[in-house]
Amino acid sequence: MSDSIAIYVARYRPGQDEAPTEQRYDVPLSTDLSVLEALNYIKDELDPTLAYRWSCRMAICGSCGVMIDGEPRLGCKTFLREFADRGELHLRALDNFPVERDLIADVERFMDHLETVKPWTVHNSERPVSEGEYRQTPAELERYQQFSQCINCGLCYAACPQFGRDDSFLGPAALTLALRYNLDSRDDGSAGRMAALNADEGVWRCTFVGYCSEVCPKDVDPAQAVNRGKVASTINYGLNLLRLARGEHDT
């Protein structure tokens, strides 16, 4: 193993650069150094003008997603040792989002989509806290637990060809979040979320590429969630037909 590694970073300064261009930095190689730590090294020792996001450095805040050799990954959960043999790696801002500067992507669209699916519990009758908790067995918790592990890192959006084609698609994490609440035994709000799931921008836009689940650093499996959303959407459609047939109103 050589004692340093070449990190090529796509630099882009708005108003200054026409398009991103790669800049090379040589970073001393140590096996337990993460890509994020390498960026911190570059910033402290080589080039303080480099811009990127980070905070927790323990794979839970979701800040540090970047394209690493073309694949969306968390900088703090990817280690230089993986690239030691090749002696180089390439970084750029997350695909499918506009670049704000250097490795910083503009994720506003993603934030809007999260909000669209109404990710909060709805109770048909509000129970006062003095009456205690809603019972939920471990099995009921298990039904949505995996889908509640999303750290909103946006890697799945960078992986999603549909979102890349048209960013009005709600995308893997937002659709997963909708399912997370729909599956929660305490929630009565699924009808209200159905409109978003069924809409043009909803589950049907997904062509089941499945790359989102591959890149997810938290094993959320958004592709599975989206597909279960399709099933729910179909059932919802069927139920609505039934209700209409019985003379009830569409919900």
Partner: protein
């Protein structure tokens, strides 16, 4: 400069800020609430909290027990009226989170489960596996989205409070994407900016935890209280400082030294408990100050292990077995595997104490009001009087909800009746501040930012760490003075406006230095040992006659901070001896006997 108005401005989108925003929105939907954060709210460091959130639920537990554990855990420096309010409202707030969808771990019958935690006599720590803070934060963030009156200002970096005639009338900040200055005026401002453990070299905190709000208030004359009390968490990963939650010990993990010996029994926490049968307030479930101090003694005695990233002891979970580790501590397993290539199912995890939590902060009363009209503070940035000289794990997440709600409601009440100070004066201030920050951007001095930051962090470890020696403390104070001076001669390479993170880091370093100075001055002034503040060489014992008092650090610009004192509110628990392990049980038995024979 962009000017905007709101009824309430909240700086901080962590647990405390979000809870305050929701409380204000519920109190009065007509109020316009600005929620400002330098990161998207769900990136706030509350996200990293692992272990759990306190609240009495079991029949054999009581509010009095939670009160006693908190007050004795805090070495009697807690304001007891505040602790009283806290323990009475913690459970209710945990339940509210439950109603909002927080995925608390459950018992087979569907009720909320609780686990053991350090310094707690009875299990009362609610948990969501070992990602409690993550789930609380996402629940609060997602719930906040349903209130149209909460307007978010994401990635707006606050630099100053706007104050005129001694009254707070807003905040100003830098819009990170464009570098534009924003002045946000409001009759009520809540600071909820979190802790400051990034003043230390080895810490469990995220890069954003830089004491900004503390420094902003401090610079405006609001005192920082009890800043000498910094908690070292006993179990961080060596090198990175990444936290291995206390829940690992709550579930039965044990600490051993280089001889494989469970050394905590030598430090007043024994007798040794059998493997797999942890006992509350005993051995590994002692309070954090004592457990961290024991590490220091072991290190002095040469009984620590050397790991590739520094000295450590072993945290052994192997006897818990894979199933329990996966159920209760999945994130710990992921962290240990990812960051040090250790699978706790098969190997012990090397750990060491790392700076973790600031017990002190912006002085507030029990209703989160600071001494400055119009200004509130809540969460880790504040000192509401709850934690005293040592915080008990799982009390701080509960603090976010209990007092976040209070702050939101108080601010809402003020916003309805209050008025902002004269606008012209506030905007004049804002322009002066902006000119100062402008001068810092691309500053043409000689000093490197990273050098100053590293020097500060090393100095804090040296002088104001687990054990504080008089010479080392003085030296740290001198180093910080020198760094202050050098900070005036920074050289910044980046003079651009869009996402100039070098510029923002330089502003953060200024905040950190102020906070570090306040910590050091208060540590020097407190001539006793209490809780997390230990002076084994010159003042090895607690001195209630002299120091049963809160310290108040006042900002004095270039001069060293001035330290004043404030009485502690004591209602029903007189200072006593802090007993853990067998000693505590013996005392309890003796007390029970005394009560039985009047």
């Amino acid at each position: 400069m962009r000017q905007e108005r709101a009824d309430i401005v909240i700086i901080g989108g962590g647990g405390a800020g979000l809870r305050a925003a929701i409380a204000a929105a519920e109190a009065d939907p007509s109020l316009d609430i600005a929620l400002v954060s330098k990161v998207y709210p769900m990136r706030s460091h509350t996200v990293a909290a692992e272990g759990g959130c306190a609240g009495v639920v079991q029949d054999h537990d009581s509010l009095a027990h939670h009160f006693d554990d908190t007050v004795s855990g805090g070495d009697w420096l807690c304001d007891q009226d505040v602790v009283d309010y806290f323990v009475r409202h913690a459970t209710e707030e945990n339940l509210r989170l439950e109603h909002w969808g927080c995925p608390w771990s459950r018992r087979p019958d569907g009720r909320v489960n609780v686990r053991a935690f350090g310094g707690m006599k009875i299990e009362r720590t609610w948990f969501a596996a070992d990602k409690t803070g993550f789930h609380i934060l996402h629940t609060l963030f997602q719930t906040s989205l349903k209130f149209p009156s909460i307007r978010r200002y994401d990635e707006l970096f606050c630099t100053d409070l706007l104050v005129a005639d001694g009254q707070c009338g807003g905040v100003q900040g830098i819009h990170m994407a464009t570098g534009e200055t924003v002045a946000l005026l409001a009759p009520a401002v809540i600071i909820a900016t979190g802790g400051a453990a990034r003043v230390y070299r080895y810490n469990t905190n995220g890069g954003i935890v830089t004491g900004d709000g503390m420094a902003m208030a401090y610079r405006q004359g609001v005192p920082l209280r009890d800043m000498e009390f910094v908690q070292y968490h006993p179990t961080g990963l060596p090198g990175s400082g990444i936290l291995i939650t206390e829940a690992a010990r709550g579930e039965g993990g044990v600490l051993t030294n280089s001889e494989g010996y469970r050394y905590l029994q030598d430090y007043g926490l024994g007798p040794e408990t059998p493997l797999g049968a942890p006992q509350n307030k005993t051995m590994e479930l002692g309070p954090r100050d004592k457990v961290s101090q024991a590490f220091w003694h072991e290190s002095q005695a040469g009984r620590t292990l050397s790991s590739p990233r520094g000295e450590a002891v072993n945290l052994d979970l192997r006897h818990l077995g894979e199933a329990r580790i996966n159920e209760r501590l999945p994130f710990i397993r992921e962290l240990a595997r990812t960051y040090i290539d250790v699978d706790p199912v098969h190997e012990a995890i090397p750990v060491r104490p790392t700076a973790h939590y600031t017990m002190g902060g912006i002085q507030t009363d029990g209703r989160t009001a600071t001494v400055m009209p119009g200004l509130f503070a809540v969460g880790e940035c504040a000192s509401v009087g709850l934690h005293g000289a040592n915080r008990l794990g799982s009390n701080s997440l509960a603090e976010l909800s209990v007092f976040g709600r209070v702050a939101g409601e108080e601010a809402a009440a003020l916003a309805r009746s209050g008025s902002t100070p004269p606008e012209a004066a506030l905007l004049g201030e804002a322009r002066d501040n902006a000119a100062r920050w402008e001068a810092l951007r691309g500053a043409r001095g000689t000093e490197r930012l990273a050098d100053l930051r590293n020097a500060m962090a090393e100095a804090m470890e040296e002088g104001v760490g687990i054990q504080r020696m008089p010479g080392a403390m003085e030296k740290t104070a001198a180093t910080l003075r020198e760094l202050r001076e050098r900070y005036g001669h920074l050289r910044l390479e980046d003079d651009s406006l869009a996402f100039n993170t070098e510029w923002l880091s330089a502003i953060e370093l200024g905040f950190l230095l102020d906070v570090a100075q306040a910590m050091t001055a208060a540590a020097l002034a407190r001539r006793e040992s209490r809780g997390s503040h230990q002076r084994p060489e010159d003042y090895p014992t607690r001195d209630d006659a002299g120091y049963l008092k809160h310290s108040l650090a006042h900002y004095r610009r270039a001069d060293a901070p001035e330290v004043a004192w404030q009485d502690v509110n004591i209602t029903r628990s007189r200072p006593g001896e802090r007993l853990y392990g067998g000693a505590a049980r013996a005392k309890a038995d003796a007390d029970a006997k005394e009560e039985a024979e009047p």
